[in-house]
Symmetry: D2
């Protein structure tokens, strides 16, 4: 259904054709500073039409808080947020009324409900994610304030263009900030002179993204139309941009992979058995439209390794906690966070809407050549990070609240136990957290 | 926590050291024929010590139904099942009391709870899955009875040994039965003459699994100790068996991938937004111990494809429904089943328990060489299918019940609408399912 | 938290000071005809300022559907509804900032959250119920359409004024319609000539509600200001109106009891053990502001009876079902509906806001005479029926959906099994409902 | 269904005819000292056959912990407990197979499920409550340890015999301990000399419970068979015992009311809107078999009061908190605990099983005189307190855990903030609880 979470509970509503889309977020602790300004940036990063790499539809997507705050602080009561549908997509109704679009949910909704929204995806449209992104931005703010926890998600592959392996590994162990991802992943396009240029002044071919100069050009990054790839490695970003533009010309689309790393992880988040942290994350990610795969840590690669290499050996950490010498596991053991960086990847399929003719059939089973012209997004990857970050934040905030319930104390982070000198994981265990909270 | 599902709700209990492990299964419709004999086979397939490929511990794992049935029929009330802990593992307590085992949850449980079971994994031990397998067997029986729905899970990779690509594809589009998986995936070992032999009499090298003869040998498959790989392609199974035995000799371990295909899928299962069917499956799979990755349909490969190839075009089906010409999606569109085969893969990490010395540290952060001798399982993959099948069944049964609530009628399957001749997906929609149920 | 229900799931938001209040309703089956016109009437009945018996604040409370419908039909997706806050109550902030109002939640919210809304009750204000009433109206419409199920709630006591016992019993076994409740329970006030007059032209003293004439007066009911009591017995309604007006003059308030009867009940609703139907109803009712008591059937009176009198003996019903000769139980047995009228009562405390001075203390514990002048509502009972009806509908619709999931068929009602002639409760049991649904 | 609670989650199983009954309790914080000895006393108080006032069936009801503890401490993992069914009730199957017993759930289960347990109530039998009582005992222990919170439940009415009003009020404002309830509420019966005798040596008539002596008799309380009433006022207890014995002679039964008071309440428990504390309590109580009514504080009496009398005025409390001068509300405001005593009453109907002939009908609708002979319990009230206490504890523990999640700190109690001198509710609010937990 349209609700997610146990203690931090998000319910979303809305489809493309109604008054608006939005969410109710229940379970936000009181007194968190919060205004629309905290939520808008992620909605803007999610928005189509940000750059010439994604669809040109201009949806302003301005969020309004309907309830739950006063004087810029949360009240502890449900926060409701809404984004009005204003610039409704012009939709090829005639075509889609007759035939279900391949790769879309038209057919399955029709059979499941005996009806479906006429306006494209309806609830299965990407607009559904607006409520998630808004709710996730709130969770992110709280996690940062309470635990200095930071979530970074970037594009690591688009079609056949991957981050070089060593770059990918480096980013996973020392994640960039969101600002770095946006800065390094943004190119400017000079159509007249036929090149992309990155923030450092490096130029790249618009045909294949190969670098065009070996020395700084002095040209300003500011020139030309912006292309957002959200791949924080300019040389790879340029190749990705070239591939996306090629696919647009070919009226085709593609998919890719995003990588997420969370730093500042407390130890002890996640519930054993069914609600393991990676299980909640996997559900969260596969609940996003167009996602097809999830892996944590070394993921499928781990399955080909030996145990003697894959086991992360322990070492002394700070403040009485331990750390791992490696992080093949990706930040959890037995479904519970170990304090290491949380690392996972999500695979996203090619956009289903393409301008090419498709030989499919009507709802009645009659052969039908579907031809839906328009400015389709050849690759949604650059817009995916705010969605993934939002769902990640929702999962983590829920996990933190659940663990707080258990211990009656904020979760332990590697950094916060300044008074813990001389204590160890063993002795801390003998002095359970609930007691600490009662003391003072 | 230890509960799963909305309407078909499973709660499990138990760790290795207590009286037993088991579950309560709530939400089973009444009058389903059910005795222990329906549940035991999957528990036996899950059991360690089935073959020389897995650990030699002999846990009888005999299930008892404590409540919820009378005269071999379910009452509609909670079904409780228990397996007693009898042959408790001899555990190297001295070592594990001092130092958390790498790859295990000893450390994270200790910090999360301020305590942990002394007997190995406690709740994080593989014994926790017994309750799931038992509950899943009940769901499987109901799904088969109500929808002729069949779940098949097999081992497709172990370490570097993969099913040949064309074999993998063939199996995914025409899945073997469980009996075929067990039969084709079982080898007999002749230690004296140093070969494996499959059910067809083909012999393979115990060193590398290469075939030793090109013509039938007449040798009986029955000779020698049984090796269960649950890879239904004997030539690959032999290589897997060889690799596992090599790793045991080397005191090491490895992981692999299992593939699951469900046939007989009704159209319309799964809830939009957060509870998409693939999201529930991903959570279910990542909640199993040692799982690190999940993909549905073409999964990560789909991310590298073009939309024009990845979109599954529609064609006329039977009984007024449609079918897809291909199944890159793996059986869902927008999180809702399309009636195509449900296809997904789960990645499982190398077993964490190895006999090799590991240079790790104690709970106090002191350097420690951990040496846990014993007969460790070098690869749990052959025992994974009943776990994956069980979780799959739990997810699907819950989805069927949720959809029934909506329509007031059993879900539509491609086969069941015999009266639907001349009807189409469109006209069926105009005649909503609830009306059908009221008729008669 | 602010969510209710398992399959019919309502989440509400909003407090008095924000942009608006409303709800998301998830789980409504598709294709239910629904527009704002289906929801508005109950909101209007809930609204303060309807009559001179309740507060004069004029909150227009016009509902807008934000999502979930198209062309006047539900889509099966979340229905979001909102009522904007326009005529915000002028609130005595200075006073209530210093001291928590007795009987209100100012103090408990302040300690629970470390903050509270400045605008009166905030989330604890009666405006919170708007989302519930809106959601309940949707459930009511569906229940009526699917099961001809009708919910009637009326005021049976206000302070010391009770419906005469025989009238109360008669109403409980043959419940009035909502229109009858509103019509018979409405008086007109003639201030000039100092009387109330009911729809039949009967006049009553404004001092004590005693009848003033024994023969019809010919005077029009339409004259004078309307007083809504929602007590469908005019003679009692007049006494209630007089008592309420007396309390207003005395700057005091009071409470009372509402009685609810649901007709058209299917057999078999409600879940055993924790989610018994009366348990869900009790929770639903005690979750409404100002409620203090709940009883089903004979309630507390049953506790003083003998079993031989309290047991409802069975008799042959129609369509193979049974009926009860009496209905002391109030419509359930073992938490499951028996098909008899569902009968329950809810006790509501005196309104906490009074204009009298109250000798209380500040948040700091300093003695403080609280004096909150204004037009307080001396008795909220006349506005309570739409709240109770709404929560009742939510509980019942959820129960119907849960039972549908189990049987794969609409629930059995006494009326719908026209084909069941010759069948009995026994033989119907031998032919389980799921089979029926598959037939046709 | 058979699960209850959000963070402290109880799932029960079992009916009278199977192997046993029991529960899984999930969400118990780790390191709580716990053995069977903590749970058994409440099961023993619940047990039938304790005294000649209740049925003579001797069910030993010995509990076994199956999982979740080690060395007498909880592990934080699911606690499973079971009581074996050993002395199964001899049941009049012939009669009950033909006709549903009035007042029981035979008929509603049969229609709901299309089947029912043959052994009397099956899941609707009172044995179902064993799992609840066991789980509640665990919650009680934790609440006592963490918050010095004490739950006392006693019998305040049986049929027409009520505690004198002033005694009832006195007990509600200064509740007896459980030991006092059991001691003062226990009589000994001297059949030979035809009197009851209380612990003080006071004798009472076995006919009507009137006192027989005005001065101490010196007779020992120990003589004779024990009668447990759980009404802590011996003079009333004697009248209750006489009434129950009269009803047994008359082959009839009756009901009554229990009163519960919880002391040591923290401020701030309970969730606004749908999950108000009284709403959760009401659900918990109405989910118990045979309960028909619930009221908190002055309950239905409050509905007849004036606001000026019913409002509880505030006064300075200790440790910066406030207290109320009266407690008409019964311990909550806006669904959230105020720190006052939690006071509520539950109405229980007459036992449905009576030996008298009942003119009812068969499942087929044929007239039938039902005659179920046997030693039926004429009044279950004396056995009700452990059930009510157990459910109360489950609700409160869940509420405490939910509030802990919010604040990251144990809940505030009037007694625990020893360092809070000079602080006030206002200043404490400015210093949110989460900070306190971080300090130390």
């Amino acid at each position: 259904m349209s609700s997610f979470g146990t203690l931090f509970k998000v319910s979303t509503f809305g489809e493309s054709h109604g008054v608006g889309v939005g969410c109710i977020v229940d379970g936000i602790p009181a007194n968190l500073p919060l205004t629309e300004a905290d939520v808008q940036p992620q909605l803007t990063r999610r928005r189509p039409g940000q750059s010439s790499l994604t669809t040109a539809r201009n949806e302003a997507d301005t969020v309004t808080i309907l309830s739950g705050t006063e004087n810029g602080l949360t009240l502890g009561t449900p926060l409701a947020m809404m984004v009005r549908n204003q610039d409704q997509r012009k939709f090829d109704y005639a075509n889609t009324a007759a035939a279900p679009r391949p790769g879309h949910a038209d057919y399955t909704y029709q059979v499941k409900y005996g009806t479906r929204a006429s306006s494209g995806g309806g609830r299965a449209s990407a607009r559904e994610t607006i409520g998630r992104v808004a709710a996730g931005a709130v969770a992110e703010k709280w996690l940062l304030q309470e635990h200095q926890l930071k979530i970074a998600c970037w594009v690591s592959s688009i079609m056949d263009i991957d981050l070089p392996k060593e770059v990918a590994k480096a980013l996973e162990s020392d994640p960039p900030t969101r600002e770095e991802i946006d800065t390094f992943g943004t190119l400017a396009e000079d159509e007249e002179n036929d090149y992309f240029i990155d923030m450092f002044g490096q130029k790249y071919s618009r045909t294949d993204g190969e670098p065009l100069n070996s020395a700084p050009t002095g040209k300003s990054f500011e020139d030309g139309k912006k292309l957002y790839t959200r791949c924080p490695h300019p040389a790879t970003a340029a190749k990705m941009a070239a591939r996306i533009q090629q696919l647009r010309r070919e009226e085709d689309s593609t998919g890719g992979v995003v990588t997420t790393v969370v730093s500042g992880m407390p130890v002890g988040l996640g519930e054993p058995c069914f609600d393991k942290l990676e299980a909640e994350l996997a559900k969260a990610m596969l609940s996003l439209p167009a996602t097809k795969a999830f892996e944590i840590g070394d993921g499928f690669d781990a399955c080909r390794a030996r145990g003697s290499k894959n086991n992360d050996l322990f070492d002394k950490g700070t403040n009485g906690l331990l750390k791992c010498k490696t992080n093949h596991a990706g930040g959890t053991l037995g479904g519970i966070t170990s304090g290491e960086l949380l690392v996972f990847r999500v695979g996203i399929k090619p956009a289903s809407s393409i301008s090419q003719d498709q030989e499919t059939c009507t709802f009645d089973g009659e052969p039908h050549v579907l031809s839906v012209k328009g400015r389709h997004d050849p690759c949604v990857l650059p817009r995916a990070p705010p969605l993934v970050e939002g769902m990640t934040a929702m999962v983590l905030m829920d996990a933190v609240l659940r663990q707080r319930a258990r211990t009656g104390a904020p979760c332990r982070t590697l950094g916060e136990l300044g008074h813990g000198a001389g204590k160890t994981a063993r002795s801390l265990a003998a002095e359970p957290p609930a007691k600490m909270a009662k003391g003072s």
